[in-house]
Amino acid sequence: MNPPVRSRPSLSTLAALLFCLLLLPLAQPVSAAVDPKIDATLAALAEDPKTLRSALDVLAQSRDPRASRVLVALDEGRLTIAPGAVLIRTRDGQRVNAADGQPWTGAAGDAPAMTNAVRRVLASSIERARLRSEDRAERLGAARALNDRPSASAEPALRAALAEEQDPEVVTALKLALAPLDLDSPDKDKKLAALAVLANDGELTVLGRLQPLASGDDPEIRAAAQKAITAIGDRQWLRDQGANLFYGLSLGSVLLLAALGLAITFGLMGVINMAHGELLMIGAYATYVVQNLFRAYLPGAFDWYLLAALPVAFLSAAAVGWALERVVLRHLYGRPLETLLATFGLSLILIQTVRLIFGAQNVEVANPSWLSGGIQLTQQLVLPYNRIATILFALAVLVTVWLLFQKTRLGLRVRAVTQNRGMAAAMGIDTRRVDAGTFALGAGVAGLAGVALSQLGNVGPELGQAYIVDSFMVVVLGGVGKLAGAVAGGMGLGIVNKFLEPSMGAVLGKIALLGFIILFIQWRPQGLFAMKGRAVEG
């Protein structure tokens, strides 16, 4: 699932991005650098649309951010001229006065006539104006845009901008934009300088330009071009690994969430719950129901429906889990294979029930606005908010569960019962209630995982089936009885999976991974974190 990427200036580092985000509000409608010539020009244009051609020259020379805004709007057909004002239609459809940025309630006005002459001047004017803008982000964006599609016509504007530019990052972007142009220069020093720039910051897109140079005549240029190619390749590799790591962590968090409940029911209680996937599904459908309730009754608070979905999902999955334990599982303790079959039967019943209630089709669960979009690190690397949130959520659930088991009386009882049932019973612990409670807790955690899954993928009756094998693999790989095992298993599987995917494809990667687990268990049947014990009879 690819969430829409909120359009943001693309920066190469997160720090710079945050810096930029801070600056954006400051650079809103009218900045400190008000150029009175713009006011005059816009006023004149509002009086007489025919002055457009000459207005362009003024606008192109100005550093006022309003100038580039007008030019961009004109280029994108969002500029109209009403009597008394030049208007810009913003992207959400409102009209504002280009001169002061205030909303305009008067007549919409007409689009100015676009002659060929206007178009020609406009093209170079926009770039020049943006490169000269007072707004740093605007300059950076313009330089980047030229960087992506270098054009010789922009060269003078770039050089002029480079001569006055102070901001180091914009300087780099300008140099990068100039570098491909300099590669064509007959001047060898210029070529070498351009190659050095590209080696430092160049992107994959210039590789095509570098390859001919790397096999050219001049040994010095050849070496420099080689170096640039290697450097660019290395940088890209590093970035890919970073992306793999992030997506691996994210997938690992999903697996961890899905397996955490299982680590409790299987790991602590030894119950093979094949209906575990369906508990995830119940959590996801609970989210769906809460979403619909919010949409119907609390549309204003819709963005916060997820928070309400958490307890609902936890409680509904826990309730189902509790019922399963009371009605079926409790009679099958100590008979793991029978438990496996019975819970599989239960999973069929749960799936069919959900189908009858909600239909066999997938239902739509929307991301709240604060989870859609993402942080764009580079052109290829986007960190979607819902994935980041999943990682944090998995962490939070993990910590909560851990605290619950380690620091509360309930946890103490659960551990007592799992270690020595008879002794725990003798000390007055109601082991049956603890069993039911533990199982309900594991089911509830599965419900929470369902909330996370509803934000990442499709929600349908078969949702759980997709996760049950993976969840068991996580627990088996990690080793039974320890939360650390589930963490290591989940993260390990997630990350390895994402690193295998680019070279093997998703399906083969997954198959390779399953094969690996099967072999791994040969070598370490207890999993990564097993409770080793003395040889036991039987």
């Binding site: 080793k532 014990g533 003395r534 040889a535 009879e537």
Partner: protein, 299 residues
């Protein structure tokens, strides 16, 4: 009581791992005192422990630890051929772990374990060790619940235990007679068609001992044979074990001191994975170290 040497064939086609430690001819051969009952044909080609130095089992500086806990710590022990040895020790002394090591279930971290002087047990799997003639009785009676008493004994019987042979195996009259003999020995005559799962606790214990006997073992390892038995059953078990000594070497791990006293000639005390004392029951009971371990901790 004299050690017994069976009518052996040379251990030429020994299982893998069987090694000649010493040249047997160097040791002075001991004359067979009592003729053993002749072994069935298919038993004769198993490797035979060389007991010319009198001992059938040697453990030398054996250590094993689990998660840093030293279950067995530099254990040295030797069992004479035909001996009945009792091993006592407080909980966690390493008695069961020692059995696990001898029968191949647990591999020690260091040390050597030999059956006779020639067979290195550390190189063999559980099933191979069992085929050598080392039988083990678990603390909890472990029999095949779904099979009849007769079938339990039949399965345990010393025979070619490869899949293909077992597929086509049929009982000979000689083998039926052997099963009948063991049934009599363990007092389960008349129960042969009953499912083992339906026997009483004590009967299961005896059946398990009977299964060991069917293996024609040279060495019997018996873990707490009278746990959970009635007084009468305990007495009968003591009788049974006493009657086995001489024909077989028997190692009994037991908690019940009265029982140990009733059967023991020589007692070994294990403590923290190590031999604390060894000797007759009287010597052991007056040994101050043993008293301290048993009483000092309890007091």
């Amino acid at each position: 009581m004299n050690p017994v040497i069976p009518p052996v064939t040379p251990a030429g086609d020994a299982l893998k791992g069987a090694q000649m430690l010493h040249d047997a001819s160097e040791a002075p051969p001991k004359p067979p005192a009592a003729p053993r009952e002749p072994l069935p044909a298919d038993v004769r080609d198993r490797p035979v422990p060389d007991v010319s130095h009198g001992a059938i089992l040697y453990l030398e500086s054996v250590s094993v630890s689990f998660d840093g806990f030293k279950a067995i710590n530099d254990l040295n022990l030797s069992i004479d051929d035909g001996e009945l040895r009792c091993i006592i020790g407080p909980n966690g002394a390493g008695k069961t772990t020692m059995m696990d090591i001898i029968t191949g279930k647990t591999r020690p971290d260091t040390g050597t374990v030999y059956f006779g002087q020639n067979v290195n047990l550390l190189e063999l799997r559980e099933s191979e060790i069992a085929q050598l003639g080392i039988g083990r009785k678990f603390q909890k009676p472990t029999v095949f619940q779904g099979h009849s008493v007769f079938e339990n004994l039949e399965l345990a019987m010393q025979a070619d235990k490869r899949v293909r042979r077992a597929l086509f195996a049929r009982l000979s009259d000689e083998q039926r007679a052997r099963i009948a003999g063991v049934l009599a020995t363990i007092g389960l005559n008349g129960y042969e068609r009953q499912l083992a799962g339906s026997l009483s606790h004590g009967q299961k214990q005896w059946l398990e001992i009977g299964m060991l006997l069917m293996q024609n073992p040279r060495l019997l390892l018996v873990d707490e044979p009278v746990a959970g038995m009635t007084e009468q059953e305990t007495e009968q078990t003591a009788e049974l074990l006493n009657s086995l000594a001489g024909k077989h070497s028997v190692v009994v791990v037991e908690h019940d001191m009265a029982f140990v006293r009733s059967i023991a000639r020589k007692v070994t005390v294990l403590h923290e994975g190590h031999v604390l004392a060894e000797g007759t029951m009287d010597a052991i009971q007056s040994n101050p170290k043993v008293v301290e371990v048993y009483l000092g901790e309890g007091a």
